[in-house]
């Protein structure tokens, strides 16, 4: 193959890796928004906590990859439910701004709490034997393959859960109408807790994969990645699960391409300008439905 094509394939592979991590986090944002119409600004920090759980499981417990991933997802899911119960549930009928501010506060709390306990960046030990294959000039690492396919697998499972199971039906029903759904015998609080658990669990999985791909973690890593995932969710149409996945791969692609052709410091600039333009031009995202406001 010519050098040009090899370069492009390499970049596409990198974009897929970044995009799948964004997608896992974006799903949490979009699910919570779909059900509660609330932006869970603490979600990026749940991702960060996931990375730290991964560090603890790998070093203190000395676990291998699969149990680490499972434990991290469980821990993050639990954290998500606890946050929802303690901080968001009491505000469900309060003005929307209160919930947003509370979410910002929870996020800052998680960051600074972690910082107080772990003041220095941590190094994740390599949990997987990293093999690099050379496919016609394109170097593919086993880690990349695992990240991409595991994320895709999780996304397919989630899509199935949301669109084909009773729990998923209940979730979609709640996002459709909050007044009458409880009258149909649907336990709203339980379903909301499950939503937070799934979203946070996926963020935990993303944290593990991110920590393996970029093995130095610090308490503030969740801010930027979280915002990027959030942009993905908005680009795809917030509240729409498939939209979030599409948005994440678009953003991952844009970022990798910008970094490939410009100085990498322009990445954030391009990402946020994209967000700004999109909101002004098409506020409901690629797959979202425009919401009609009645007077």
């Amino acid at each position: 193959m010519s050098d040009g094509i090899v370069y492009w394939l390499q970049q596409i592979l990198n974009a897929l890796q970044l995009g799948s991590i964004y997608a896992l986090i974006a799903l949490g944002y979009t699910m919570v928004y779909g059900i509660l119409t609330m932006i869970n600004f603490a979600h990026g920090d749940v991702f960060m906590i996931g990375a730290f759980f991964c560090f603890l499981a790998a070093t203190a417990l000395g676990l291998s990859f699969a149990p680490t991933l499972l434990l991290t997802m469980l821990g993050a899911a639990l954290l998500g439910v606890v946050i929802e119960r303690l901080a968001y549930k009491p505000l469900r009928n309060a003005p929307r701004v209160s919930a947003i501010i509370t979410a910002l506060g929870v996020g800052l709390f998680l960051e600074n709490f972690t910082l107080a306990l772990a003041p220095y960046p941590k190094h994740i030990p390599p949990l997987l034997e990293n093999v690099t294959w050379n496919l016609g000039g394109v170097s593919v690492s086993s880690l990349q393959v695992i990240i991409i396919f595991l994320s895709l697998g999780l996304m397919i499972v989630l899509d199935y859960v949301v669109h084909r199971t009773p729990v998923g039906m209940a979730m979609r029903a709640i996002s459709w109408d909050k007044t009458f759904v409880p009258l149909m015998g649907i336990p709203v609080n339980l379903i909301i807790s499950i939503t937070f658990a799934i979203g946070a669990g996926l963020a935990g999985a993303a944290g593990t994969m991110y920590a393996l791909a970029y093995p130095v973690i610090d308490p503030y890593m969740g801010i930027m990645v979280g915002w990027k995932a959030f942009i993905s969710a908005v680009v795809g149409g917030i509240g729409n699960i498939r939209g979030a996945m599409i948005g994440a791969f678009i953003l991952g692609g844009v970022e990798i391409m910008v970094a490939a052709f410009f100085p990498s410091t322009y990445r954030d600039f391009v990402a946020f300008t994209l967000l700004l333009l999109l909101i002004v031009i098409r506020p409901y995202g690629i797959l979202g439905q425009p919401r009609i406001q009645k007077v």
């Binding site: 309060a94 947003i100 506060g105 107080a116 801010i223």
Partner: protein
């Protein structure tokens, strides 16, 4: 007794000499404190930070409290003001020869930020609520990213060695100007428009409120004072970098506004003072200084296990405080209320008449 005191107090508020006298005392103090070192240097510094934070909180309250939007861009406007003013004093204006040019630089910082406020105001015509919050956030990130990418202004390293030109009288002056401007704006015709937009934008449009002009004015006023505060901040800290003006700075200002209470100038002043004071008091050195009278037997273990670690833990206490305020005290200290002194005379009289009518039982 309390009724008598209250009447006396109201009578005092009605006196026309009260405001000029208070202002004069304030200015004399602002000049005298640094001149004769009435307070130690550290307290003077904290006072100046309190003043800057009051400007920030009062101006953010205009958009977030009175207009009911959720702007996260305040630190971005602050950055624009800070960089504009710092570049002017360092590279353009001959400050060394004419230190009197400093107010010009501050004013330019405010105007540059107000211009940026226009850019945020335009999308606010179409988008509201969560999405406007996202737009303001994107603006903040873009400002930060642009500054990081311009090497001429130091890029991510920032600008060190800014002259310390911010003084207590200047901070006091700008606090007075910002409180005066925001208060008069809120109680003007446009201010009523701002309040009506918070309650219902469509309805206020129907009532022939020019919502676009009102939004322009509100965003520009708010960002102007954020820029002023940024310029003062830069010439007090003597070092600015993009990292100083990130989302955490915005969150600080949000905490001051919501702790003090939305739609209340008095609340913002209280919130900014209390929050800044609390953050300073929780510093390990301050706590150690305050508790140093304790016998060594108690002080040493306290210092070992508690005070020494406050430096990090106060950053944990701060967001926890915000969450607790939101959960148990959603209106903050003065939410939707106001000190009587800040309410214009005609409004106070109308309010008073309403109260007496209510007492008499006639609607």
């Amino acid at each position: 007794m309390s009724a008598m005191l209250r009447n006396h107090w109201d009578g005092l508020l009605e006196q026309r000499w009260l405001l000029p006298v208070l202002l004069a005392i304030g200015f004399v103090l602002a000049f005298a404190i640094p001149e004769y070192n009435l307070l130690n240097k550290y307290v003077q510094l904290v006072l100046m930070y309190v003043g800057i934070n009051i400007i920030l909180a009062v101006s953010l309250n205009l958009v977030n409290g009175y207009m009911g939007e959720f702007s996260l861009a305040h630190a971005g406007f602050m950055a624009v003001g800070a960089y504009t003013a710092a570049l002017l004093t360092m590279k353009v204006l001959p400050i060394a020869a004419y230190p009197g040019l400093f107010p010009l630089a501050v004013l330019a910082g405010g105007l540059a930020a107000a211009f940026m406020g226009l850019i945020v105001a335009v999308p606010s015509f179409k988008v509201r609520g969560d999405y406007l919050a996202i737009i303001t956030l994107a603006f903040l990130m873009i400002v930060k990213s642009v500054i990081e990418n311009i090497d001429y202004i130091g890029g991510p390293r920032g600008i060190p060695g800014i002259k310390r030109l911010t003084t207590l009288p200047w901070v006091f002056f700008w606090v007075v100007v910002s409180v005066w401007a925001v208060r008069n704006f809120v109680y003007s015709k446009y201010g009523r428009g701002v309040l009506s937009i918070r309650e219902d934008e469509i309805a206020s449009d129907l009532m022939s409120v020019n919502t676009r002009r009102v939004k322009f004015l509100a965003f520009m006023t708010s960002s102007f004072f954020a820029g002023i505060a940024g310029a003062l901040f830069a010439h007090l800290l003597q070092f600015i970098s993009p990292r100083v003006f990130d989302i955490i700075k915005t969150t600080d200002i949000l905490i001051m506004v919501y702790l003090g209470g939305i739609a209340s100038i008095g609340g913002s002043i209280l919130g900014a003072t209390l929050y800044t004071g609390l953050m300073e008091i929780l510093r390990p050195s301050t706590v150690a200084g305050l508790l140093s009278w304790l016998p060594e037997m108690i002080f040493d273990p306290l210092n070992e296990y508690f005070i020494r670690h406050l430096g990090v833990w106060r950053m944990v206490i701060m967001p926890l405080l915000l969450v607790l305020v939101m959960l148990y005290w959603p209106r903050g200290m003065m939410g939707l209320r106001e000190f009587r002194g800040f309410i214009p005379r005609r409004d106070r009289e109308a309010h008073h008449r309403l109260k007496t009518l209510e007492k008499q039982g006639t609607p």
